[in-house]
Symmetry: C2
Subunit: 341 residues, 2 copies
């Protein structure tokens, strides 16, 4: 379809382009009659302002970019849900990209968003991210930037996080309070800060309770999937038949563990207590219902967008902006899978 221009409207009505433009913007120095004629014709011709020209003039796209590891993921889809609704309420559209946990793809996507001239970028890093050149590039270009959940501590930008160490400590303390003495941790991959922090939280809880730390009780995920949960459960029971507690990096892995235990008549929580992390929806409908750490995904989406908005507004006005970190609270959700006593 051919785009309708102000010029065509002006020609058809025999008035100047300036008058058409003023009429559409409801300027007081255009008569009501002319305004109505312009509006009627513009509607009939399906006129819409050329957003590309508007972008060029205002240097704003009213679009932001969001890069997350994956969309099919209870935590991230909940963040996306809250974030895009909040953005829309504030007049922003959101381009969503998923890194599929690949650093190479994440770098390419940052480049794409920079080229696209989005007004701001929000990222939760992939598991592979151990290099920060692409993140520094965002900073160097002075593009408003927020990281959430899976962040890089070395980059100075706004962040929305939880205290993973404390949350993991509390989860493991809960297992200990329920009589667990030999607790396995199925940890996340080596790079992500949140996997490191949850691992530290696990160690600190053991230490505080005078339980010796044993590296043989730590299993490391590569893909953080349901299938890894199944495979580790099998391996753990083989390696340590006397294990009595498992703390998994995330509910999806814990659900794999429960699934293997259910199929192999290993009683949860009587023989092995299990606790996950993140409070995925399905955790409440399993048998037994899974204990977990509630992560405020909805709030994280809202806060991430609002921090970005604050920076975008400062940026537009030329006001300096000092990055901030918002730490959100977590809580332990105790269900059937961890209560031995």
């Amino acid at each position: 379809m051919k785009d309708i221009t102000l010029k065509e409207i002006a020609t058809k009505l025999g008035i100047s382009i300036t008058t058409v433009s003023k009429a559409l913007k409801n300027y007081p120095d255009v008569s009501a009659k002319t305004k109505q004629a312009v509006i009627d014709l513009a509607q009939n011709l399906h006129y819409t302002p050329n957003s590309f020209a508007v972008n060029l003039r205002t240097k704003e796209s009213k679009t932001i970019g969001l890069i997350i590891p994956e969309v099919v993921h209870h935590f991230f889809s909940n963040v996306v849900n809250a974030l895009i609704d909040e953005a829309e309420k504030n007049g922003y559209l959101v381009i969503i990209l998923q890194s599929n946990e690949s650093l190479a793809l994440e770098k390419k996507q940052v480049e794409l968003l920079i080229k696209k001239r989005v007004d701001g970028i929000i990222i939760s890093l992939s598991n592979e991210s151990n290099n920060d050149d692409h993140l520094k590039e965002i900073i160097n270009r002075n593009i408003p930037f927020v990281m959430f959940d899976k962040i890089n501590k070395l980059i100075t930008c706004s962040k929305v996080i939880i205290d993973d160490q404390k949350a993991a400590f509390n989860a493991v303390q809960h297992l200990i309070d329920n009589g667990c003495k030999k607790i396995v941790h199925i940890r996340g991959p080596l790079n992500p800060q949140n996997a490191i922090d949850r691992y530290i939280g696990y160690k600190k809880a053991l230490e505080k309770n005078n339980i010796p730390f044993d590296t043989k009780l730590v299993y490391t995920c590569e893909t953080v999937t349901f299938q890894e949960g199944i495979d580790f459960a099998k391996q753990i029971i083989k390696d340590h038949p006397d294990v009595d507690g498992i703390f998994a990096i995330t509910d999806l892995v814990a659900v794999g563990v429960l699934s293997y235990f259910n199929d192999n008549k290993i009683k949860v929580p009587q023989q092995v207590a299990v606790i996950g992390f993140s409070n995925w929806f399905m955790s409440q409908v399993l048998t037994p219902k899974l204990s977990t750490v509630d992560q405020p995904s909805h709030e994280m989406g809202i806060e991430s967008f609002n921090l970005l908005l604050e920076e975008m507004n400062c940026h537009k006005e030329g006001i300096p902006f000092t990055p901030r970190t918002i730490e959100l609270d977590t809580s332990i959700i105790i269900r059937e899978s961890s209560i031995k006593i």
Copy 2:
């Protein structure tokens, strides 16, 4: 940050803007030395082509809009997953909006995407959509347009669907083959075509097997949620203590039913067999594991984007495009919740 222009690069190197532009596009009539100098300086100055100006010139944004009812939904998040990856491979970015099942919001979002001048629009309709003015507006403006899953039959555009009637028929036939005689259907809301078709499939299966249809055995969801599944399960057992089979519009509702039955010691499948629709991930980890209809969400995302791409390409070349409908296959996944025999 100030945008670097071709002019600034030209001035700094003492060459013409045309030469800079040609060098960046690797034209053969610029010397290798000059090309290198231009590329080096462009990199040092963080030069990126102004995408707004490129959009204005090419009339393409290389961005498409996707409107779905909700992101936190196993089926839709799987469609999004496949669709945005496929779009990215083909050089397109995707703006995602969720209607939250509201027609008013869906209309506003269509308007937003038209104003944004996206190159194409993909929609799965909200449950409230019973009015098609906004969809006609997309057609009138000649914007490439695909509907998937929740479609409007009256709109002439490309569509990616499944045969909901046949899939529902097969699900109910499976319950009948397993000895069910009094089968409840928890149907979707009245508007969406897929809810209507699944309801028709249920009726046809009863008819084929000479089981009288009884409107009292049909319960209608408003919100299609887990909680509705719980509430209906309670009501169904009260209204019809002799019910022996339930076919639910979607797995999320069926999971609510299972959850209520588990908590109230109603044996599935012995007392009541249950089958869902859509094959949500969690269905395979429940106790009992939920039988369901597998809906090809991944393929639906890919086919929807590729149909749109085909139309966008025709549009760009000025070639007429005839909308097509792609119907994808479904299959019944038989698990523990429906096998009585």
